[in-house]
């Protein structure tokens, strides 16, 4: 029978520790560190329930395994917990991580992170380097920048989490593809979910976005599939910006100031959704096939993603062919949606050539001016429309 070497650390707190753990270790009680603690590859650090670990600098860096249940990790001016390529044998559950630059950083691997509270960090959790971490039933709140940051081709499972009151974004997906992002709740964030840059094409399904500034923001040629989500009471439910072409299907967008805002050469497919009780259902701004054909390519060359850090010198990472719209006919496709009883009655009355009050497009504002030149604003293809509500089953969402 294998016996692990167990080091019991009792009668603490211990001040100003800096150490590397080279054999299996158990932490209990109260511990404080002012420098980085490293867990070497092959080494298991177990933190007993009820333990309080406080850092006043450095980080807890785990290249081996970490098992922590019911633990509080806190501090000031500390870097947070760094999990380096930890596999599913690393499990953090029912823990609180607070006050760090990045509460938990996951670089690769597939750790299990369950029922955690990530609070008052700059970034609650950052997932990178193709990590397949499982983030389940956690609460991300009051982090000053981002609750959960998913980057660098990471493919985590993200389900059952609450993202509430974070400083800028509840979740930010940057060039990554979560293998699942569903059954989460986003509330009280300036932006609930940001999906940005070419290559960010996740399926976002069955989430609830309530009372955010923007529920979901899709930017810079991202092409997610947004299906079966509930977007309610947001200032803007869904904002599509700079060549973003998501498929928006089967969502319920109700009681938002604007349900969907489309701008700068974004050509989504919007079908099978319910729009009821919004200030406006669909608003087009600076959206023109003519502008895109004339200037889209040039403007994209000047975007942040395609230039050096200080704004000069080309760095072409995505070809223009990949970002060019597939169809440019001056319309945004929003056929087959339920627009609400009053709106549908208006559509029935005025027909496919009418100008529905809930849609603001080129029928209302035929042109816009940019750089001293006038461009026609696109219009919305809204016919045919559904004659019945489509998303009643979404009431069952968390």
């Amino acid at each position: 029978m294998r016996r692990a070497l167990v080091l019991l650390l009792l009668l603490l707190p211990l001040p100003a520790w800096s150490l590397t753990l080279t054999s299996d270790t158990l932490w209990e009680g109260e511990l404080s560190f002012s420098e980085t603690v490293r867990v070497e590859p092959g080494v298991l650090l177990t933190v007993a329930p009820g333990t309080v670990v406080t850092f006043s600098g450095g980080r807890l860096e785990v290249a081996g395994r970490l098992v922590a249940r019911g633990v509080r990790f806190s501090g000031q001016d500390w870097e947070g917990i760094v999990l380096k390529g930890c596999d599913a044998a690393t499990v953090l559950s029912d823990c609180t991580v607070e006050g760090a630059r990045t509460g938990i950083f996951v670089g690769g691997g597939a750790p299990k992170l369950e029922r955690l509270r990530l609070e008052k960090n700059d970034v609650g959790m950052e997932i990178k380097q193709k990590s397949a971490a499982a983030i389940v039933d956690c609460r991300f709140s009051a982090n000053s920048r981002v609750g959960l940051f998913i980057k660098d081709e990471a493919a985590p499972l993200v389900t059952g989490n609450l993202f509430a009151g974070n400083g800028k974004f509840g979740v930010y997906i940057y060039r990554a593809l979560p293998r699942m992002l569903s059954k989460n709740v986003f509330t009280g964030n300036p932006t609930g979910l940001m999906i940005s840059h070419y290559g960010s094409d996740p399926r976002i399904e069955g989430n609830r976005f309530e009372k955010n500034g923007v529920g979901i923001f899709v930017d810079r040629a991202a092409r997610p599939h947004l299906q079966g989500n509930w977007l309610r009471g947001n200032e803007t439910g869904l904002r599509l910006y700079r060549r973003s072409d998501p498929r928006v299907e089967g969502n319920n967008l109700s009681d938002n100031g604007v349900a969907i805002s489309v701008a700068y050469s974004s050509y989504p497919v919007i079908a099978g959704n319910d729009f009821t009780g919004n200030g406006s259902a669909l608003v087009l701004e600076f959206q023109s096939s003519a502008w895109e054909a004339e200037k889209g390519s040039v403007v994209r060359q000047e975007e942040v993603s395609s230039v050096g850090a200080f704004g000069r010198g080309a760095r072409n990472e995505v070809s223009e062919a990949e970002r060019r719209p597939r169809v440019l006919d001056g319309t945004v496709d929003a056929r087959g949606n339920w627009w609400g009883p009053k709106e549908t009655a208006e559509m029935e009355r005025t027909g496919a050539r009418g100008n529905p009050a809930s849609i603001a497009d080129g029928r209302d504002t035929p042109t816009f001016t940019e750089g001293g030149k006038i461009y026609p604003l696109d219009t919305v293809r809204f016919a045919p429309w559904s004659k019945v509500p489509l998303t009643a089953d979404l009431e069952k969402l968390p």
Binding site: T36, G107, S131, D152, M194
Partner: protein, 361 residues
């Protein structure tokens, strides 16, 4: 009295100059000439860039530049000295842009009293992202290990020469090891240097930190024959030690000198921003590897950017280095001049005031 002193000074200067002038060969040119190839064929319209330093990413402006003629020949007169030559050509065929490039295998090239004939060398095609277009079935493979165990997720970098310390942007795209620590890099036939790193934050680029794994392949340089994937076996990495890193940071471009800029990195409201690096570029485009980098700014936002020499530098600031900007980074430039440039003399220290940085999302 003043005039006499001036004359005396002039005579003194001439007398000092005379031995130097006498030592210079008169009526003879020094420099380089040769032929650039692509494969076996002469390459017309290519560029030869001449550098004084062996700086891998060539972020500094070349000392001299010339082009090849219709037969691929070039000729440059240069003062006697030691130079690094690079051949380049960007060409477009049928809508496809390709970049050809190679370092002169004879670098550094010494010239003295004559035009030196450089043996012909062939440019190689780089991919769109700077990666090489490999020869069929050609490359290297191996396994990254640390303390005898395979290292998953390490990046393996390929360099064509080692003078820059196998740091900075690699010659081709970095390759990442699999779960078993194994890697394979497809290459053109040639001679290469390999380095590998695994950073705690999983990054592909950036300064290695204590605790990261780092190493150069012990068998460098590796010769890769055409049509062969050379097995390198185990390629060991070591954990970066804080003391070693500090020692390295006190050398090279991080050396503390009497020539420096100082300043503060602040946000748009004037609040100090810590952990931001100040960069000095000699190239006004401010791309590639900076010539000098400061330590991260302290809690008050203060930084000191030490320089090796006087000159005009173009100043930027960023919270990380290497790679494109990512959301959440802080970035800014010195805006005392529209081109972000500022001049100072050797052994001069110059306060830059506040560099305003903004968080990019």
């Amino acid at each position: 009295m003043y005039r006499l002193a001036l004359k005396t000074k002039r005579l003194l200067c001439l007398s000092l100059l005379f031995p130097l002038l006498a030592a210079c060969p008169r009526g003879e040119e020094s420099g380089v000439r040769g032929v650039l190839l692509f494969g076996e064929y002469p390459l017309a319209g290519a560029q030869i860039e001449v550098y004084l330093k062996n700086d891998k990413d060539r972020s500094t402006l070349p000392f001299a530049v010339t082009s090849t003629d219709s037969e691929g020949r070039y000729r440059l007169t240069l003062p006697a000295g030691r130079y690094y030559l690079i051949g380049k050509k960007k060409e477009e065929k049928a809508g496809r842009v390709r970049m050809l490039m190679a370092e002169c295998p004879g670098n550094p090239v010494e010239t003295d009293a004559a035009i030196k004939e450089i043996p012909p060398f062939s440019l190689m095609e780089m991919g769109q992202s700077g990666s090489l277009i490999p020869d069929p079935g050609t490359g290297v493979s191996g396994r990254i290990v640390a303390a005898g165990a395979p290292v998953a997720g390490a990046f393996v970098y390929i360099y064509s020469e080692e003078a820059a310390g196998l740091m900075g942007p690699s010659y081709g795209e970095a390759v990442q090891t699999g779960d078993d620590g194994r890697f394979r890099i497809d290459l053109q036939a040639g001679r290469y240097y390999l380095a590998a790193r695994r950073r705690a934050d999983g990054s592909r680029m950036g300064e290695v930190q204590p605790g990261d794994l780092n190493g150069a392949y012990p068998g460098n340089p590796v010769t890769v024959p055409r049509g062969t994937v050379s097995s390198l076996g185990d390629f060991p990495l070591k954990t970066v030690d804080g003391g070693q890193r500090q020692e390295r940071l006190s050398q090279g471009k991080f050396t503390k000198t009497k020539t420096f800029f100082s300043g503060r990195t602040v946000d748009q409201d004037g609040n100090p921003v810590s952990d931001v690096y100040a960069f000095a570029y000699l190239d006004s485009r401010m791309v590639g590897k900076p010539s000098y980098i400061s330590d991260p700014s302290d809690d008050s936002g203060r930084f000191v950017l030490y320089l090796g020499d006087g000159g005009t530098y173009y100043i930027g600031a960023r919270s990380t280095f290497g790679g494109p900007l990512e959301p959440g980074e802080w970035v800014g430039t010195y805006d005392g001049r529209p081109d972000h440039g500022v001049a100072l003399s050797k052994d001069q220290s110059l306060p830059l005031g506040d560099l305003v940085v903004r968080e990019v999302w």
